[in-house]
Amino acid sequence: MGAFVPFAAIVASALFILSLMWMSHPSTARRGVRAGEIGMVIAIIGALVQHEVVDYNLIIIAMIAGAAAGIPMALLMPMTAIPQRTAISHAFGALAVGLIGAAEYYKHAHAEYAGGFVMWALMFEMLLGFLTCTASVIAFAKLQELIGGRPVSFPGQRILNGIVALATVAIGATLALDPTQTWLFPAFVALALLFGILLVIPIGGADMPTVIALLNSYAGLAASAMGFALGNKLLIVAGALDGASGFILAVVMCKAMNRSFANVMFGGFGSVVASVAGGKDDRIVRSASAEEAAMQLENAGSVVIIPGYGMAVAQAQHKVSELYQALIKKGVDVKFAIHPVAGRMPGHMNVLLAEANVPYEQLVDLDDINPELPQADVALIIGANDTINPSARDDPKSAIAGMPIIEADRAKSVFVIKRSMNAGFAGIDNPIYYNSNTQMLFGDAKDMVGTIAKELAGGGSGLH
């Protein structure tokens, strides 16, 4: 046994590493999940067989309860709810980290640990853990639209945040230097929790994915800190991997939106959505019917479908897949152009389309599809807006200037499926709708795509 514990840690770490390694490609990814699961089992066994552990009842009960809660959650969760699910699970994980830290704190609340390395690690762990917990809850609430997604800002906000931050750190430091001041501890926890809330409320709902990725890396760091405090290398490794992943995803998103972390965290982006949305003007907009679209699509040699957030909210992915099937049956070459931040989380579109059985080779990256678009006969935009907004490329004064876009406007002709002339997440006007080669297909993505697919399949009941 004595020998098993350290080796369990090594093997588990190795398996977690392999798990991420295999995640690099769809063909090996599921093996990656297996590796991760096995690693986890080994880690848990390693923990259970430690001599220190004597009482198993509570542990077993908690684990059974946890599994009982987790399994249905995993099975019933609709794919469109993935972002919320990620947010709430960060809250759970961070809470666990925080509570473990608290328990450890009370164990170490003696003078001899004062100012010790373990104490500092514990405080850092709890700070990150508790703030990530509440922050994730807010993020969840915003994504689930339990509370408004609009950024909340009030006078003196920054000052307040600053004060809370300072107070939290100050009390944390005091406790690290003199752990016996247990009466201060609840205040520390409360402040950390409060700070988490304050951090997220000023951030717009659609920025939540970036926030979630950041919280992901915080949670990872917290786990590593716990590893430092408990002297557990496995936790250090797992935490570091998690931290790196969250950080990189956040960077990817910021790059793809051409925005800085600072701008995401403090920019109050998205507060303006309403103002511009649906601004009327006199430029001509050509709109077409499903029949016309169907006809042009089946006569096209190559079609690029560009899905966006609208496809997700309309849950149109299955209809889109039908459309894809109908088109390839007619010998049309169909590709999907996936923008890194299309939808509301990284890889959002890929998961939805994969769910609807679109082969993943057809899902093409921004950089690879743009050179092909000028040759495309038809670009069919389904509920995407900012990610195809040419002003990001052409108008340096635009709010999203410099954001890489899918250059749908370069295609020979363009169809846009959306319900209105309303703006997208960035809340800005989109010139593509007024181009002479653009035709609008107004309606809900699901209905509209469905009708077009029917038309192509030769059903042709038309719109209802």
């Binding site: 798990s19 923990a47 509570l99 009370y106 992943s245």
Partner: protein, 96 residues
């Protein structure tokens, strides 16, 4: 800071470098499953929770905190791995 903590720092740095190298190579296609996978892996904090809850001479408070921690972590790791697998099952190559 003592030699021991230096030791942990060593492991952390290596793991962090490795993490960056590995994640950079994950295809954007899989960024959503990646999130839930790392999420599940981070739930390994359950080992810490287990120690807290089960170790001898644990105070009632410790047991309670530990109990909740074990519960939360378990929810994450179970649902995390399962959802990841569910998502990945859906990614099919052409002609399948």
């Amino acid at each position: 800071m003592n030699a021991l903590s230096a030791d942990y720092l060593f492991v952390f740095i290596l793991a962090a470098f490795l993490g960056f190298q590995l994640i950079k190579k994950v295809s954007p296609l899989l960024h959503s499953p990646l999130m839930s996978l790392t999420n599940a892996i981070a739930a390994v904090v359950v080992v810490g929770a287990i120690t807290i809850t089960g170790e001898e001479g644990a105070t009632p408070l410790a047991k309670t905190l530990g109990f909740i921690a074990v519960f939360c972590a378990t929810v994450n790791l179970v649902s995390g791995f399962m959802i990841t697998d569910r998502m990945l099952k859906m990614f099919k190559p052409r002609g399948k």
